[in-house]
Symmetry: C3
Subunit: 332 residues, 3 copies
Amino acid sequence: SAFQVRAILLIMRPDDANVAGNVHGGTILKMIEEAGAIISTRHCNSQNGERCVAALARVERTDFLSPMCIGEVAHVSAEITYTSKHSVEVQVNVMSENILTGAKKLTNKATLWYVPLSLKNVDKVLEVPPVVYSRQEQEEEGRKRYEAQKLERMETKWRNGDIVQPVLNPEPNTVSYSQSSLIHLVGPSDCTLHGFVHGGVTMKLMDEVAGIVAARHCKTNIVTASVDAINFHDKIRKGCVITISGRMTFTSNKSMEIEVLVDADPVVDSSQKRYRAASAFFTYVSLSQEGRSLPVPQLVPETEDEKKRFEEGKGRYLQMKAKRQGHAEPQP
Amino acid sequence: SAFQVRAILLIMRPDDANVAGNVHGGTILKMIEEAGAIISTRHCNSQNGERCVAALARVERTDFLSPMCIGEVAHVSAEITYTSKHSVEVQVNVMSENILTGAKKLTNKATLWYVPLSLKNVDKVLEVPPVVYSRQEQEEEGRKRYEAQKLERMETKWRNGDIVQPVLNPEPNTVSYSQSSLIHLVGPSDCTLHGFVHGGVTMKLMDEVAGIVAARHCKTNIVTASVDAINFHDKIRKGCVITISGRMTFTSNKSMEIEVLVDADPVVDSSQKRYRAASAFFTYVSLSQEGRSLPVPQLVPETEDEKKRFEEGKGRYLQMKAKRQGHAEPQP
Amino acid sequence: SAFQVRAILLIMRPDDANVAGNVHGGTILKMIEEAGAIISTRHCNSQNGERCVAALARVERTDFLSPMCIGEVAHVSAEITYTSKHSVEVQVNVMSENILTGAKKLTNKATLWYVPLSLKNVDKVLEVPPVVYSRQEQEEEGRKRYEAQKLERMETKWRNGDIVQPVLNPEPNTVSYSQSSLIHLVGPSDCTLHGFVHGGVTMKLMDEVAGIVAARHCKTNIVTASVDAINFHDKIRKGCVITISGRMTFTSNKSMEIEVLVDADPVVDSSQKRYRAASAFFTYVSLSQEGRSLPVPQLVPETEDEKKRFEEGKGRYLQMKAKRQGHAEPQP
């Protein structure tokens, strides 16, 4: 069952897009995750043994390379690129196709990590059947990526940032002015048939909050430019209420970095405490009506924590800029 | 755990709005109910003891104060304002925020009553943990509201109006001409995780039927102006088919009152009969392209029943008008 | 419980329609099936005995007589027209109503066959209570339709066409150029409360793929003109991944025939193999901005199989044309 390739086609509908007709980054992330969940669940059940469902553990940093618009067909293909004993690496590519002109563009390349959970007991991680590699180097390269992400997950651990608190009458351009929280009652259509929230649903909500923060800050049409690595620390079970909070951490001339925190609250189960389920940094850019990138108002950090987060954001920004210039890739 | 305040943010999408871009009243009612269900379920589970889910029992009369449009962010906040032994009163406020201009407007203030049902047996009502009031008067005022709504519920009981029957070739402006029925097969996404329909889902369908009746009558762009108190007489369980019927009862110069009846039919369970699950009066107004309120064609009641309902509607209209003028509040 | 008539009303929303504002044929098929499922489930549970849910077994060939647009109200009514020992025939009519002008048009007439499956064991088919006919001939005519469809189902059996395979760099106007596959992970909201996919959900996905194939081929605005009979060979259970593949088989001057294959893959259950769940031919036409039908580019069949399928499609096209002219009905 070596490498598998599958394609998902979806027509983008009005509800998938903002007022300017650009499809939300979150909608794209949700499609990517659905493809990843299908291919890895299928692979992990390809041998006899205990039945399982693949749960999203991590998404690597990903850039949104070109916008997708209403009426275009999203073409999502997925491939298993590596397996460790307990995890599957999936590479997903998204193309946008204008079916009237036939034009296709690469929208997104993403790498996701899944772990197989037993259907009988979703707290038990099962073993992953090995893939067959066509070239010897593939296994070695995959192992390096596996070790690198494992290390990074352990380093960042839970990035247990404080909770976003409301502030009365904040000044424009401050962190408090644009910070936003969204509460979502997990419903049946958010969940897998096995009772936990799809990783893609969580990412879509995260992008939605980040978008509200960005729009409040710069009051223009905004689009997702990139998302850094997202670790899913713990499953979100059905019956939870999730709070997704976003706050701006850093602005460059033409980009905004927004930290998004996801907390799950098992409302009906008082034996379980509220916990941080995921967190990530989203980068947004502001676009003119003609789709050209605009300067953004500079963020004014006020508290010591805000200043610290601003400097950390600047560090990530400069590091990514250097990396892109090193690779001679175009800037988003 | 005294008073709790939470905020839900949601971007209004094209599917939430009519052709003129105004968000349906039903969409707003659904958001309000979701906020109420979250805060009251959380409160009722805040102490050790049997786990429960809060079910909507009643929504007090509510006005739609200003329209909400596509692309705006709905800001829903909820607060527990009173608890009796077996019920929770929640006050929900909805603001619309234009994130590009930053302008905010109060859209809606609603009061909802919930009862906690045991997760093990949804026919069993549990006890509600008391809230701590910051001012002594709050408890006393709450008790008065509790007694008043209890009395009104007992008085109206099931308002067991007859069923809306189709009529062949009705004349324009008659009740028969605009009356409408919608049948809905309850699906998993309409239900809580505990197998009954969300009150908000029912209210959204009720508003949808009322809107069809109003549009058929006056053939213009119409919006919800207010909804009178809705009592939820009985849970609607999964597997039901619900019939939502609407008929115009009264017209003033610039408003239409529509009675909406909700009947549940437990299709697959012949031991249970069809029952009236809820009923309410919706008031709609007709708007010009520029958003100004238009005169509406006068309703022509034909049968004795229709004439009786017209007079009752007129009574409600005059009472509400007097109340608003007494309070010197602006007319909707 | 003789003949039952029910009406479902639904406002068509932006997400139900293509860029030209025409509601997708698949959305209409889904509404038709919901009406059929409600009326036949209700009828099959109208007597005491084992409880059941009606599962779609077959939809007869149906034409889309006039387009439905965003903002219009769909008026779906259903009637039981025949019952055999184990199946129910339902006739469904769809009208579109412009609620601003009051204009109504017949959009669709469809005939569906359902079988009642036991709620305790969805592999067991129960008996159907007989209907009472108002005219003696109705039973006899119904029996003829029943025998005819039974024969046709046995003849076509599973129409086990090969799988649609991707081709690199195909030429325009070839079958490979426009062929498309969509993968869908079955979610809770796709399913009945009894754990299998609604027939209407499958038909909506089938129309979606057919539409993508048609648009890729002719690069214009396209609409569904008709669907031939669809047999549902086997239930699709929750937890499946379904692959819906479409390929163009035939073009006349102004129409395109697209074959759509539905394969179900019980991902998490390796004891069950991938199986063909349904298949059908959709006919699409190309429309100008003003809604007039346009000539379509001629399909260029390349392989022997493609040429064979083209001739078979031509046969169906000529047969249907002759039938319509024989009945002196207007061409779609």
